[in-house]
Each structure stands twice: as structure tokens, then as C-alpha cells.
């Protein structure tokens, strides 16, 4: 293992300390629960709160979206592990401005169980909560059982839409409904070239052959649907686009946003080579692209690879997408 770390036991704490040292004017940790990262951006009175939770090892997911126009707080777990119910409860308490809190997070066992327990505790404190679970990875379960799919990069769009809706003063049910509506139109598919290493484990938990690419691998190295000999960028674009579009059915006049997401060790140059072909394929359907996202949005430490997310828009979703958002890790200003 070659990583720029100190003691692996301190990986998460030292990462959070670094983030606060860099961006302490914009985000901070709760004094009595240093596993909750909260926004310091100004908030309108009574705004519906939005929180997420998840393991470390995916920056900017999850905590990188705490800020203006996205999340109010994030419960941070160890690498690839859910935070505890207590940490999530503390995040919910912080995010409540009197009108309830939306728990918006990825479809993983530990995160679901801990959120369920945290919501029960919040209920004791008379904090109203709602829950929307992100399940956008089309390779992790067929369309008939799409509720079993994992949540991956598409959650960034869900944070964006829910955050914009909450900023507009929508109530909890409306914010949740808008997040659901966005997710119904968001699909992601990824491919990995190399594995990643959990710091405490010290070595990769799985392998991918030197000349191979694993289609559909998850962001924790969950097995994909197919291991292939390495293919070209254009072939990969077609491989990722076809199954997504089979579900989204982009057609003449449709608008969508596209996210090319690097998994950690894939250069931006390669991401843009992929984007080039994706843009051609979308144009070929007669559809157009709004606010493309190219870069690292949901990573898997040093894993090489990419994911493609397509978000099919209507007028309302487009407006919410374009609305301002700013966090230390994300801004609409450059897109």
C-alpha cells in the first residue's frame, strides 16, 4: 500500500481536521459530535433541512455537498462504513430549522438501518423527518427490482435538486417529492480499471486484470456485470450509454444533464475524451445537454475508472438544477 497517510486508525479524523483547517469558514464539525460536518453558510428561516450519511472514501461524496443550496449536514462514517445512529441523529438535530428534515442517502444496508434508528430518535424530539433513498446504479439490479440498486454518483444531482427546492421555501413533502422525481429520471453506470485500498486493510480487497475493465463495478468494489478485455473510450461510451438510455429513452427535443465522474485515479483528459463521445450519442438522439458535469464527484479512493450519469430534465427540474449552489467542493458557477 502506498498512501499519503499517518496511522490508518486516524484516517477519517485527520481528513476531517484537514477539511476544517482549509474551509473552516464555510463548514465545521459539531463540537459535541466531531463526526457531523455542518454548513456555516447563511440559511433562510425555517428552511427544510437536508442531511445525508455515508462512509468515508468517496470525496466529494458525501460531506463535500454540505453548503449553500445542497446539504445542511452530513454524518460521516469510517471508510466504506456507515456512521452510527447517534451521529445521524445529531446531524438531523442540527439540520432542523423547525420544518423538518429530509434524509437523502444511498441504498446501503448499514446506512438504512442507522437512518431508521436515527429517525426514531428524532421522532422522540418531535423533529419531523422524511426519507428518500438513492438507487441509481443500473448494473446493481435489473429494472424489475430497481429498488435494490445501489446509490452512486446520481445522488449529487438529487442533493442539488432537493437543496434548491428547500432553498425556495418548499415544505418537507415537496422537497422529498422533488428529490424522488429527480431520481426517477437519473441513471448511472460505471466501469473500473483498478481496485482501491481500504487504509485499515492495507491491500486491495479484489483484483482487476492488467488488461481488463470491469463493467458495472460498484464504488466499494462490488462486483460488476462483466469483465472485459480493455476497450477504447468510444466503445466504453457506447457500453455505458446504451443501457442507461434504454431506461431513460432520450428523444427529439429532450433535455438532460450529463455527469462524467472520475473514480479517483482517472485523469480529467480521459474523462473529457469519454464526454466527447457521450455528447455525440446524446446529440444523435436529438436531445441536448444542460449543465454538463465532468470531474470527480463520487470517488472510490485510488480506483481508476469512471461512471456516467444521465439526468433527464423537464422544465421544473432544469430550473432547480440551474439554481445557485456553493460548497467548498462544488459550485454551479463554473458549469
Amino acid at each position: 500500500m502506498k498512501k499519503i497517510i499517518n496511522d490508518p486508525e486516524n484516517f477519517e479524523r485527520e481528513m476531517l481536521e484537514g477539511i476544517c483547517a482549509a474551509y473552516g469558514d464555510k463548514v465545521g464539525l459539531l463540537e459535541d459530535d466531531p463526526k457531523v460536518l455542518v454548513s456555516k453558510y447563511p440559511v433562510r428561516d425555517g428552511k427544510v433541512g437536508i442531511v445525508t450519511l455515508g462512509g468515508s472514501g468517496h470525496l466529494p461524496v458525501f460531506l463535500g455537498y454540505v453548503g449553500q443550496g445542497m446539504l445542511d449536514a452530513c454524518a460521516v462514517g469510517n471508510v466504506f462504513a456507515s456512521p452510527s445512529a447517534k451521529v445521524m441523529t445529531d446531524a438531523i438535530r442540527y439540520a432542523d430549522h423547525g420544518n423538518g428534515v429530509l434524509c437523502l442517502y444511498g441504498n446501503y444496508g448499514g446506512d438504512k438501518l442507522n437512518t431508521a434508528m436515527a429517525r426514531e430518535e428524532a421522532d422522540f424530539d418531535d423533529i419531523e423527518t422524511a426519507e428518500v433513498i438513492v438507487a441509481d446504479d443500473i448494473c446493481s439490479s435489473p429494472v424489475e427490482t430497481k429498488e435494490n440498486r445501489r446509490g452512486v454518483a446520481g445522488m449529487v444531482y438529487a442533493f442539488k435538486i432537493a437543496g434548491a427546492s428547500a432553498d425556495n421555501g418548499d415544505d418537507l413533502q415537496t422537497v422529498a417529492a422533488n428529490a424522488e422525481k429527480a431520481l426517477a429520471n437519473i441513471r448511472t453506470m460505471g466501469a473500473a480499471l483498478t481496485p482501491c485500498i481500504v487504509p485499515r486493510a492495507g491491500e486491495p480487497g479484489f483484483t482487476i486484470g492488467d488488461d481488463e475493465i470491469e463493467i458495472g463495478m460498484g464504488i466499494h468494489g462490488e462486483p460488476g456485470i462483466e469483465v472485459r478485455k480493455m476497450i477504447t473510450a468510444d466503445e466504453l461510451a457506447e457500453t455505458l450509454f446504451a443501457p442507461i438510455n434504454a431506461e431513460l429513452q432520450l428523444g427529439e427535443g429532450d433535455e438532460c444533464s450529463v455527469m462524467i465522474n472520475g473514480l479517483g485515479a482517472t485523469p480529467l483528459e480521459e474523462q473529457f475524451i469519454l464526454y466527447r463521445k457521450i455528447a455525440q450519442l446524446i446529440e444523435g438522439c436529438g436531445a441536448s445537454i444542460v449543465m454538463p458535469h465532468v470531474g470527480e464527484f463520487a470517488t472510490s479512493m485510488e480506483m481508476a475508472g469512471v461512471s456516467l450519469t444521465i439526468f433527464k430534465l423537464d422544465a421544473q427540474l432544469k430550473e432547480l438544477l440551474l439554481q445557485d449552489a456553493n460548497t467548498p467542493f462544488y459550485t454551479t458557477a463554473n458549469k
Partner: protein
């Protein structure tokens, strides 16, 4: 007869066996999980045993409640949270008891098992920790700890023939056949430690 002193001793023994088997559990978990099983069980049972040791509480239910909270804080992974939910179920069942007979302890643990099944929607035969815990808890009612350990070990071994339906292992489908479930090994180790 279970009382607070015995409970603390049993948790210490479990913490020890999880620490001794940390690398083995990591290795097992890598076959169809993400490899954090050994670390989360070592830290979860280690911190829980320490918290119980430091407590003057003698009510078994309240001790299990403390165990549940400490365990979840220390090991909030899927399996850690499942165990924490189980301890909470047991806590409710044993609340108000300073001691418990083998039969009562078994019934209390069964309530924990039920809490896990209710919360996760899982049942026996789905290649999980339940497949070793359930037979172990059942056998515990007789007071024969060695028999309980053997029942849990047999239950764990049987997961090799089961198809995974939950969590990350489920993505492996048919490929999970022949592989021992890591969670069920945790259940086996718990009963092995209790029997010592």
C-alpha cells in the same frame, strides 16, 4: 445462571475471541464483502466489553441497552448495526431482571433475534449471522454451553450451501454457494467464547 458479573465476563471473552480472529474475519469478508468485518467486530465487542466493565449497573436489561448503544457507536457497519438492534431487543426483554436462568437468557436473546428479523426483513436460511445465532440461542435454553457452541458452529457451516439474499453478498448470487458467511462465523465465535 446469568448475572451482571457473568455477563461482563462473557462479553470480555467474546471481545478476546474477536480480537484473536480479526485477520481471519477480514479474510473471509473479502470473498464477498468489503473486508471490514474483522475490524468492526474487534472494535465493537472490545469497546462494549470495556463499557460494561466500567458500569455499576446490575439490571441485565440496562446492561444490554448500554451494550447496544456502545456497539452501534463503535461498529456502525451493517452487521454491527444488526447486532446492536439485537442487543436492544434483548435489553427490552430482560429489563428489570438482575439474574436470568438459562431458559430466561435464551428467551431474552430470542427476543433480540426477532428484533433483527423484524427490522431487516430477513429470516433463517438466507446466509446470514442468524443461521448460527438462532441454533445457538435455541440450544442455550438447556444450559449446556458446549452444545450451544456446537449448534452455532453447525449453523455457520451450513451457510456454505445457502444463497446470499442480503447486503453486498447478494450481488454474488450463485457465486456465493460454497462460501462460508462471515457473519455466521461471528455468531459461531460468540458461542465459542461463551462456552469457554
Amino acid at each position: 445462571m446469568l448475572d451482571s458479573a457473568t455477563l461482563k465476563a462473557k462479553f470480555n471473552a467474546i471481545a478476546q475471541i474477536m480480537a484473536d480472529n480479526c485477520d481471519y474475519l477480514v479474510e473471509l469478508d473479502r470473498q464477498n464483502g468489503d473486508g471490514d468485518l474483522g475490524f468492526s467486530m474487534k472494535s465493537g465487542f472490545g469497546d462494549t466489553a470495556a463499557a460494561l466493565e466500567a458500569s455499576d449497573e446490575t439490571d441485565l436489561g440496562r446492561l444490554f441497552l448500554l451494550a447496544s448503544r456502545t456497539f452501534n457507536e463503535s461498529a456502525p457497519s451493517s452487521l454491527g448495526t444488526i447486532l446492536s438492534i439485537g442487543m436492544m431487543g434483548t435489553a427490552k426483554a430482560l429489563k428489570g431482571s438482575q439474574t436470568a436462568t438459562a431458559e430466561e437468557a435464551s428467551a431474552g436473546l430470542k427476543a433480540g433475534l426477532q428484533a433483527i428479523m423484524d427490522r431487516t426483513g430477513s429470516s433463517l436460511g438466507e446466509k446470514t449471522i442468524l443461521d448460527s445465532l438462532a441454533p445457538g440461542i435455541e440450544a442455550l435454553a438447556s444450559g449446556d454451553l458446549a452444545a450451544a457452541a456446537e449448534a452455532a458452529a453447525n449453523g455457520s457451516e451450513a451457510t456454505k450451501q445457502m444463497l446470499a439474499k442480503h447486503g453486498r453478498a447478494a450481488y454474488y448470487g450463485e457465486k456465493s454457494l460454497g462460501i462460508l458467511d462471515g457473519g455466521s462465523v461471528v455468531g459461531r465465535l460468540i458461542f465459542e467464547a461463551i462456552a469457554k
